[in-house]
């Protein structure tokens, strides 16, 4: 009958005595911990995915974009006036930049790609021929296009996995001609399956040499830059400096272009998921609060019901702190049941979800600890008042108390 085991025994008694309320506490605390886990798992999986994507390029890549990412609605109008990035500007940067390993101008156009009557709307990616320095695109079939083909405006195309599957359905695509809009391109390669990122399909894509695509687009949407090793910040400064110079911006004027790093991209993601985070944090708080109030209610009933027992314990010399500890332990055990359940269910769900979305399963075990700590602490907080009440009972009155 040690005091810890005693508390455990009493807690189990409470569970049997108030099964519905206990179930309620378990559910609310479980929900809270689940929300916490979901929150952290989503954030971490996103981060892991993005990092995987970026780091598969082998370096920290820098994006120069026509417009900075939209963070506020008012940004949309402001950014409308920003000029496109011209071919001349790209050439200028190519000449000036000292810290760039590669400068790859890129276009993006959603266009129908057609082969023998089958058609699919794909993201057409115009690239200069050194695109493999900044992108990691392992091949399934054939080859990538060459600098020579780019320079001679050859109309060749590398298909993404999804386009290949839709249009060719297992047949050999190499040397076949496909229509991209109104131009015919010859297939030279197929990239392996890449999956999705944040709901956007990375496989319904084709890559074409930018020089050939210039007939369609004179400007570029963005420029992918790869810094020399460890020179990411230098490169960023450099790009800003030269492009502002080229565009003759005065010092008081803002950049009229966007510069984005892996970190910046993650920031944007975090921004985008902020509403979700807030909602989840709300669920965490609410779950703990509601569970805690019911917990307090159960414990107050238990104190009333066990008043005589408390009197007996005091009469044989229990220190008030020992009485308080008994109820606090009960509170912690009851509250932690939900935490445990939440961790268990959270583990399971996060595993299933990450499999379903083919995200890497990045279950952070510290969150399990955090969830348990959270519910345990809520037990202490909401158990405090009943425990104090029990500890302060007058022994004589408690002994003669008859529980109705």
């Amino acid at each position: 009958m040690g005091m810890g085991r005693e508390a455990l025994r009493i807690a189990l008694r409470v569970i049997r005595q108030y099964p519905l309320r206990t179930a309620f506490i378990v559910v609310t605390n479980m929900t809270a911990v689940l929300a916490l886990i979901v929150l952290v798992v989503i954030m971490q999986s996103l981060q892991a995915k993005v990092r995987e994507l970026f780091s598969s390029q082998g370096a920290d890549i820098l994006y120069l974009t026509r417009r900075p990412p939209v963070l506020r609605v008012t940004d949309i109008r402001k950014y409308e006036s920003y000029p496109p990035i011209s071919t001349a500007e790209v050439e200028f940067l190519r000449r000036q930049l000292r810290w760039a390993e590669a400068v790859v101008p890129a276009t993006y156009d959603p266009v129908d790609v057609t082969f023998q009557g089958r058609s699919v709307r794909a993201a057409v990616q115009g690239r200069s021929a050194d695109y493999l320095v900044v992108e990691n695109l392992p091949l399934y079939l054939g080859r990538h296009f060459t600098p020579d083909e780019d320079a001679h405006r050859r109309r060749v195309v590398v298909l993404g996995w999804g386009v290949y599957r839709e249009l060719f359905q297992g047949r050999d695509p190499l040397r076949q001609w496909v229509w991209i809009g109104r131009q015919a391109y010859r297939v030279v390669g197929v990239v392996r399956e890449r999956g999705t990122l944040l709901g956007s399909d990375l496989d319904t894509v084709v890559w074409v040499p930018l020089q050939a695509w210039r007939g369609v687009r004179p400007d570029v949407d963005y420029v992918i830059l790869r810094p020399k090793s460890g020179r990411e910040n230098d490169l960023m400064e450099e790009v800003r400096f030269w492009l502002r110079l080229k565009r003759q911006l005065r010092p008081t004027q803002e950049d009229n272009f966007g510069l984005l790093t892996t970190e910046g991209f993650l920031d944007i993601l975090r921004n985008a998921t902020r509403a979700l985070s807030r909602a989840l944090i709300g669920v965490v708080g609410l779950g703990v609060l509601v569970g805690g109030i019911v917990l307090m209610n159960i414990l107050l009933m238990a104190v009333a019901e066990r008043t005589q027992e408390i009197g007996i314990r005091k009469a044989v010399g229990a220190h008030p702190s020992a009485i308080a500890a008994q109820f606090l332990w009960e509170a912690i055990i009851l509250a932690s049941l939900g935490g445990l359940a939440g961790v268990g269910v959270g583990l399971g769900i996060s595993y299933l979800v990450s499999r379903a979305l083919s995200l890497p399963w990045a279950f952070p075990f510290w969150v399990a600890g955090l969830g348990l700590a959270l519910t345990g602490i809520s037990g202490v907080l909401f158990g405090y008042y009943p425990a104090r009440r029990a500890a302060r009972l007058d022994p004589v009155q408690a002994l003669h108390y008859e529980h109705g």
Binding site: M1, G2, M3, E6, R13, Q308, E309, G311, I312, R313, K314, A315, V316, G317, A318, H319, P320, A322, P395, V396, L399
Partner: protein, 253 residues
Amino acid sequence: MGTVSAFNLHAGNPETAVSPSDAGPLIRLEGVVRIYGSGSADRVVALDGVDLVIRAGEMVAVMGPSGSGKSTLLHIIGCLDRPTQGRYFLRGRPVEDLGEDELARIRNREIGFVFQAFHLLPRATALENVELPLVYARVPPEERRRRAMEALAMVDLSHRARHRPSELSGGERQRVAIARALVNRPSVILADEPTGNLDSRSSDEVMRILQDLWRQGQTIVVVTHERDVAKYCQRVVLMRDGRIVGDIPAGEL
């Protein structure tokens, strides 16, 4: 109850051992007043200036009609309650000045309570009930078990150690309560109408156990309004309306 003599009550607990050489009395009350309620309507003077001295080794009966303040007196002696006025010295130390730590320690080590309604924990076994004071005295489990079994043997209930109170007769329950009261070798056992809920045979049993304990040197105070119970004692204190109105040897009853 032949097992009682096998146990030397005060061996190995010098802290609470009461030797004859102790100069002062074990318990001394001076002008103790206990008033319940505060308004004039609900104000009850339960004790109205009680002076009382109890020496170590005495067995005292406190007698008086219902409502005369016997229980209140016992609660104050047992540090479950505090006087509204007056002073209480336990082994020469004024109890008024003591903090919660010290009071809990006194209830645990110095006092053994026995109540009319037994007040055992219903879900704990007899053994666990007897162990309870030792739990709060932080006695390690094996020693706790051993001492609790010893105490149960003293009240002749070794064979009932694993039973819950609901499985015991009234007399057996009160003997468990006595075992619990003596397990920590207290300076004094305070029994508030210990036979009030018992038939006459069980009452005799319980009183004989208390008397045997007294013979071994245990100080005992028994509250009762039964003459037959008081006869087991050595000295009788008579109460009425919160005052002590007589203090006589039991033989004079």
